[in-house]
């Protein structure tokens, strides 16, 4: 009987093995060499949140903007707590991985920071990008960097913004990254959050009132809420305005309280420094007096929250403090 069969020779076997190995290595090296932010994405996906915050804090410069790219649809949970002297900034992450997979009922591991102040909604969702804006908050000395965060699922339509605001957003390259400008409410795309600056009205989700009492009204929730903001002294005056626009009122109020606590401690630090340096010819009793007043005013933040800015004379104290510091002779400024 004739046996039918194909002689599977060693040449074929060898070719198949080698071919498979060569293909594997070729694909592997190709992915290695594409230059993606693999490390950052994997770290972030692995719930290492520090990298979200490190590169974008300011030192002595004004503002910084950054884009954080993620591989999969991601949710960032922003929890602000008032535990301890400085309060706590808690961040946790949920990642949607796999097709059709539901979000996990609770987010991943929580990271806590005492020295971070992130202004955003309680839950920020992004398909592939998160946008960060870092602004120094001076009151009148630098208190902290405010990190404003929003995801690529959010679009903010600024209606008739201040010239400074428009210029800054443009210079930071944030136009088209969740922020658009418009001349009227009806020009805003459907589904976007309409932010009305003074002069625009009707159909607003957020309304900004400037003037003596600076307030932001949130009109898109179940009930109308409002928070107060202030313009910082110097060039970088809209830090709190951006913070209020891009975050929920609850997060904003909590972070304001944390910031005022930090302000109080820094005021005490500068007071100690002034008393330490005064015998050496640097320091001022007048500045020390205002530092004491500033520290005292911040005590009422827990009851007043952001209305501290409008219901106390804290802004006058801050302005006086800055003027007196600038007047210090022999170029011995305290801050």
């Amino acid at each position: 009987m004739k046996k039918r069969g194909y002689e599977f020779s060693f040449a074929w076997l060898f070719s198949i093995f080698i071919g498979a190995a060569v293909l594997f290595f070729a694909i592997y090296f190709a992915t290695q060499l594409t230059g993606t932010k693999r490390t950052e994405s994997e770290t972030f996906a692995g719930k290492e949140i520090g990298i979200l915050l490190n590169p974008i804090e300011t030192n002595l410069e004004e503002a910084k903007a950054n884009v954080l790219t993620v591989r999969d649809e991601t949710r960032i949970y922003n929890d602000c707590s008032l535990r301890g002297s400085f309060g706590l900034q808690d961040l946790s992450v949920s990642i949607r991985s796999g097709i059709g997979q539901e979000w996990l009922p609770s987010p991943g591991g929580r990271s806590s920071f005492k020295n971070k102040y992130i202004f955003s909604n309680g839950v920020v969702e992004g398909n592939s990008n998160f946008f960060l804006l870092s602004k120094p908050f001076n009151f009148p000395f630098k208190v902290a960097d405010l990190i404003v965060l929003w995801g690529d699922k959010d679009v903010f339509c600024f209606v008739r913004p201040f010239d400074d605001v428009e210029e800054e957003i443009n210079s930071l390259g944030l136009v088209g990254k969740g922020v658009i400008f418009s001349g009227g409410v009806d020009e805003c795309p459907v589904g976007s959050k309409v932010v009305c600056f003074p002069g625009a009205s009707g159909g607003c989700d957020i309304e900004i009132e400037s003037g003596l009492n600076k307030k932001i009204y949130y009109l898109d929730g179940e009930s109308e809420k409002s928070v107060s903001y202030t313009e910082s002294l110097g060039d970088d005056k809209y830090a709190l305005l951006y913070a209020a626009i891009f975050s929920s009122p609850e997060v904003y109020e909590c972070q304001i309280e944390r910031l005022m606590r930090r302000t109080a401690l820094l005021a005490e630090l500068y007071l100690d420094k002034s008393q330490f340096l005064e015998p050496k010819g640097c320091g001022s009793v007048l500045v020390a007096f205002d530092l004491n007043r500033l520290s005292a005013r911040t005590d009422s933040v827990s009851s007043l929250k952001s209305s501290l800015f409008s219901q106390t004379d804290i802004l006058d104290v801050v302005e006086n403090l800055e003027d007196k510091n600038d007047d210090l002779v022999s170029q011995c400024k305290l801050f």
């Binding site: 060898f14 190995a21 030192n59 002595l60 002297s85 208190v143 820094l266 330490f276 022999s330 011995c332």
Partner: protein, 169 residues
């Protein structure tokens, strides 16, 4: 003739076995070479990458600390590399900041002109170190150079000296 056929079939089988043996040897050599190539390139790359990442991590950490309002020096000229040494000595006495930065160890060292001993209000600024946080002691610290700025009574202005920040996370 039968004998011839028999010897041919045995030889053919033996040749097949021998060919397979060579194939396997060749495969092993190939994968060995590939593994050698991989470890030669990437393990040396990984060591260098780890050292670079450690250096960058230290740089980022120190940049953040030096930019922290508790250390920032904004009294004189613009100096992003500067740390306010006067604030540091005052901060040393504050218990509020022990857990603030999430560090196990934080120390500021005056490198040049050098001094001796831990700084106190009485020996400042002729001292060497200001230890602000010391939970684990000086183990596996990251360091980075900074400029220490302080008010100099004799100079009537701010003096800038060379220092180092030591941190351990």
């Amino acid at each position: 003739m039968t004998t011839l056929f028999r010897s041919v079939s045995y030889s053919k089988g033996q040749m097949k076995i021998q060919q397979m043996a060579f194939v396997l040897v060749g495969l092993m050599i190939f994968f060995g070479v590939a593994a050698l190539f991989y470890f030669t390139i990437f393990s040396s790359g990984i060591n260098e990458q780890a050292a670079l990442l450690r250096e960058r991590e230290a740089q980022e950490l120190v940049k953040r600390l030096a930019g922290s309002p508790e250390f920032i020096f904004s009294s004189g000229s613009d100096c992003s590399a500067c740390v306010d040494f006067d604030k540091a000595i005052v901060l040393k006495e504050s218990s509020e900041y022990q857990n603030f930065w999430g560090l196990n160890y934080l120390m500021i060292e005056k490198v040049y002109p050098s001094g001796e001993g831990e700084c106190t209000r009485s020996n400042y600024p002729d001292c060497k170190t200001i230890t602000l946080v010391s939970k684990t002691g000086e183990l596996s610290t990251r360091t980075a150079f900074v400029a220490l700025a302080r008010w100099d009574e004799g100079l009537g202005y701010f003096r800038y000296e060379l220092g180092r920040i030591h941190v351990s996370v």
